[in-house]
Amino acid sequence: MDYANLGLKVGLEWHQRLDTHKLFCNCPSEVGALPPSMSVRRKIRASMSELGEFDPAALVEHVRSRDFTYRLSPESACLVELDETPPAPFNIEAVKICLEIALLLKMKPVDEIRCMRKTVIDGSNTTGFQRTMLVATGTPESYIYADGPVGLKSVCLEEESAFIVEAGAEKAEYRLDRLGIPLVEVATLPHITSPNQARKVAERVGAIMRTTGKVQRGIGTIRQDINVSIRNGSRQEIKGVQELELIPLVIEREVERQVSLLKLRDELAKRNVAPLESKIVDVSNVFLATGSKVLRSSLEKHQSILAAKLTGFSGLVGSQIQPGRRFGTELADYARVWGGVEGIFHSDELPGYGITEQEVSKVRTILEVQTSDAFVLVAGPESRARAALEAVLRRANMALSGVPEETRRPLSNGNTAYMRPLPGAARMYPETDIPPFVITAELLKEISSSLPPLPEERLEELVAEHGLSRHLAEQLVSSPMMPLYESITSSSSFDKTIVASTLLNTIPFLRREGMMVERLDAAMLMAVFKEAEKLNLSREEIEEILSMLCREDLDVSSATKKVLSSRMGEEELRKYIEKVVEQNSCMIAEKGKGAIKPLMGFVMKELRGKASGSTVHRILTEEISRRLGAC
């Protein structure tokens, strides 16, 4: 793909949790540690001033909101999160961490921080707004250099939202342990022009945030939002990309999607397709004796099956816009979001799914579908099925003009799915319960005089003082594993190269093998390396222990014992090595003592931790020497 030619523009935004207590109260910033023992049910009402813009008939419907249930443990959420008491003045530690990050990024802190309320009505904030504040802005000096300069726009400090447990058309459930955790939000300008550049920028900014040592570690503690547009396409906000590796893929797929949608627009123009009429017909009668399980079960629940014609769309609904996703998938997303239905059926994939040719034919007749037309079927409670089809028609109409602006969520394969329309400028107004915070010259001096070293400075340190190879050190400083590496190596004198390569290579390897590496938390890893230091474990033994910890519910000490106890006895080992030496006699004759290294590698791999490296080396050397002596 020629991204430059396509006019690709990408902006990145990071939301990183800070390692300090909550922003507006003293609750700990911990997610998922405690089971919820309380729950409170609420409704969120529409904003008063916005109501002035609606006509009275619509008002009642507009103000009616879903039922929200908020679950909490009183240990990790308090009356502040329940919106039952005013917020405390914000956590100064959190401000300082943000200022540190801003200064490391060469951005300009504001003189007076003013906390704002940003209206949020989906229930993810109990108050109906998110508290957020601007801490620093970009200047011409604020940029990340990666294949060219990428300007930085802003650093904000805000509260994390509640954790969504379940969401439906009528109600949603949230957990409050996450609400109020401080987040630093860093945003770039849309200067990124290639997927690879995006990855480099993300790596760099992540590394800079982590170098403070004061951001949270682990899955879910950082979320990346990607804004993508191409010329003639439109800006998409892709929210919540968690893995660094996924970023370039998401961008590539999004470009593909926009290019495909533009092709779709052109094809529709060629076919002279006009804006679709909003005509929805009840076709339930066609399916009274249907073999389709989905449709039959709907009818049994006294729901409706509705259909709408997509004039001129024949063959296009089934056209691919991303690998594994068709235009029909986009329509289905709209149906799900706006109607709360499970999905849709469309004519490009019928007959199928238990729906027969005769049934298709009948629907065609009712809708007056020509060969150049397509149609869509939705099953569900009447009003929801109708809302779903209206959304489908809306989306189909948008295809005539190109790519609608949307907020989308990433899928694990790099594709994205529609979440909601791109929001307009959110209403933000002053949070008057929090006084303005003046950033004094003294505070700035205090922070700038104790800034942590930048990743590249740490790199030199790792090579010079830790003895890591430059390659390994480079990987480490940009990795989320860096802070853990520092914790481990500062409290143990175990081989640092093994620590680094275990964290950077072994753990991802185990993940790829399907192991539950999520079980390996920081405390466990530290304990493993303590054992390693005590017992002089080999790299392979460590891998075995980690693998066992992923598979079995053991503590580190028991897992270590288990792995070591399945070690081979010396006699058995010697017999095995004798065989290996026998099998490799030619290589040994050729390389002499030089055969030890490759054979060491081979034997250790085969034994998988059943013997310690030093023992194997000793025996192998003895056997090889014996053989050489014999020749």
Binding site: V40, R41, R42, K43, I44, R45, S47, M48, S49, L51, G52, E53, D55, P56, L59, V60, V63, L79, D83, E84, T85, P86, K108, V110, D111, E112, I113, R114, M116, R117, K118, T119, V120, I121, T126, T127, G128, F129, T132, M133, L134, T137, G138, T139, P140, E141, S154, C156, A425, A426, R427, M428, Y429, P430, E431, T432, P435, P436, F437, V438
Partner: protein
């Protein structure tokens, strides 16, 4: 707008006023947006101009030697409230009147400055809570005063009582009083005594959360209050607020048996030594639990008087009798004592001069009425159990049964506002007039 003089002068020199578009360039950074005034009460740095950036964020930029300020074309109108749409009200629904005294429930904020302004017309109330149009017909809505409830005085209670009676006589099914929550229970008690022969619901309602936020408790409070005011089978004064933290139901709590028990929770108002009168759900259901006076046809009248020289004094270890002496010297006619436990004051402390008894005796001789309540709030006082209480009672103090100290204060002030002799006042203090004295000591009314 409280900018420092220096900054004010600079803005004026550039022809800048709040709402104008401004650009400030400083040390490489540039801030462009609309100029916002600083808050009235001094906080932060008055040398910082507040700018609303196009992103929506407000930011404070210190104007010092390095800052360059420019006025740009364009401006926004601050403190512009949208005009409510006029609505047709359903003549078939029960008529109520709304009277506003102020408080959070009566206010809304300007989205730019955060400044608080009061709203107030029936259309504005309906605009915020359109469901009311299906529940009641708002016959009239008036702002009687606009005060935070900590600023109210008994004079305000008297005016309110008269206004409510006047409205009821015009034919309302019930009255809604919008009120600040801090002293809403004082007003509720006052109205309970002042409005005589009441036979319709008078419902006081407030808001614990600011009305700008989506989580505001106002709306459900107003909906439930209107349901009760319109068709509740009750002829009493009470407070109607959230019954629990959930947006599930409201409780209608007797005006003489209710207190604000939490600084901020939406279910802050609890019944003390009594059950709620009723439980109301926003879908219209009413569950009657403990009604004393049913809705009827009697015509109410206002007996709005109050003797302002009445005080509440709290007894505590080390509290000196001079607290009472000072009041006596200032000509106070009634003192409600918030005693400890069953209703005790320092009586026989080691330091004899710290006993309250001599001051009480002296006051009684002067014709001052001492009424004893308990700072425990829950439970009944007793002048019979302990020697100290017996002595206090013998000295002439009246024990207020299970009345709240605040209610005792309101009742005593109201009684003394009449032309009654001391013995009559003392007798009426312990006569149940508006549900302020419980007949029984129920086992199920503690911490509910």
């Amino acid at each position: 707008m409280p900018y420092s003089k220096r900054v004010n002068d600079l803005l004026e020199a550039n022809g800048l006023k709040p709402g104008d578009r401004i650009l400030v360039e400083k040390q490489g950074a540039s801030y462009e947006g609309f100029l916002i005034p600083r808050e009235e009460v001094e906080r932060g740095d008055p040398d910082c101009v507040v700018i609303k950036l196009d992103s929506g964020y407000n930011v404070g930029v210190r104007i010092d030697g390095s800052a360059v300020v420019k006025k740009l074309p364009g401006s926004i109108q601050l403190e512009k409230f949208s005009h409510p749409v006029t609505t047709v009200q359903d003549a078939g629904l029960p008529p109520i009147s709304i009277i506003s005294t102020g408080g959070t429930i009566s206010s809304r904020i300007d989205y730019y400055t955060g400044a608080v302004a009061t709203l107030f017309s029936p259309e504005e109330v309906l605009q915020g809570v359109p469901e009311l149009a299906n529940i009641v017909r708002i016959r009239s809505a008036e702002r009687l005063f606009n005060l935070y409830s900590e600023d109210l005085s008994p004079k305000n209670w008297c005016r309110l009582s008269e206004k409510i009676v006047a409205k009821l006589l015009e034919g309302d099914s019930g009255i809604l009083v919008l009120h600040g929550t801090d002293t809403m229970h004082y007003t509720a008690a006052a109205l309970s005594f002042m409005i005589r022969d009441l036979s319709s619901p008078v419902v006081l309602v407030g808001a614990q959360r600011s009305t700008d936020r989506g989580s505001r408790d106002t709306d459900m409070n107003l909906i439930c209050s209107s349901i009760l005011a319109g068709r509740g089978e009750v002829g009493e004064v009470g407070i109607c607020m959230h019954g629990e933290m959930d947006d599930s139901y409201c409780l209608f709590l007797r005006g003489t048996k209710v207190r604000k028990m939490h600084t901020s929770r939406r279910d802050a108002f609890r019944p003390i030594n009594d059950l709620p009168i009723a439980k109301i759900w926003p879908d219209g259901r009413i569950e009657y639990i403990n009604v004393s006076v049913r809705r009827g046809t009697s015509k109410p009248f206002s007996d709005a008087v109050f003797e302002e020289k009445v005080a509440i004094v709290k007894a505590y270890p080390g509290s000196p009798p001079s607290l009472l002496e000072t009041l006596l010297d200032k000509g106070y006619r009634g003192i409600v004592i918030e005693g400890t436990g069953l209703g005790h004051v320092p009586t026989e402390p080691e330091e004899k001069s710290m006993s309250w008894l001599p001051a009480v005796r002296r006051g009684v001789e002067m014709g001052v009425i001492f009424a004893v309540s308990s700072q425990c709030l829950y439970g009944r006082t007793s002048s019979q159990v302990y020697r100290n209480a017996i002595l206090l009672s013998k000295a002439g103090a009246v024990y207020l049964e299970d009345m709240l100290p605040e209610v005792g204060y309101v009742k005593l002030g109201w009684l003394l506002g009449h032309d009654y002799d001391v013995e009559t006042v003392k007798r009426l203090l312990v006569t149940n007039i508006a549900g302020e004295i419980g007949k029984r000591v129920r086992a199920d009314t503690y911490l509910i």
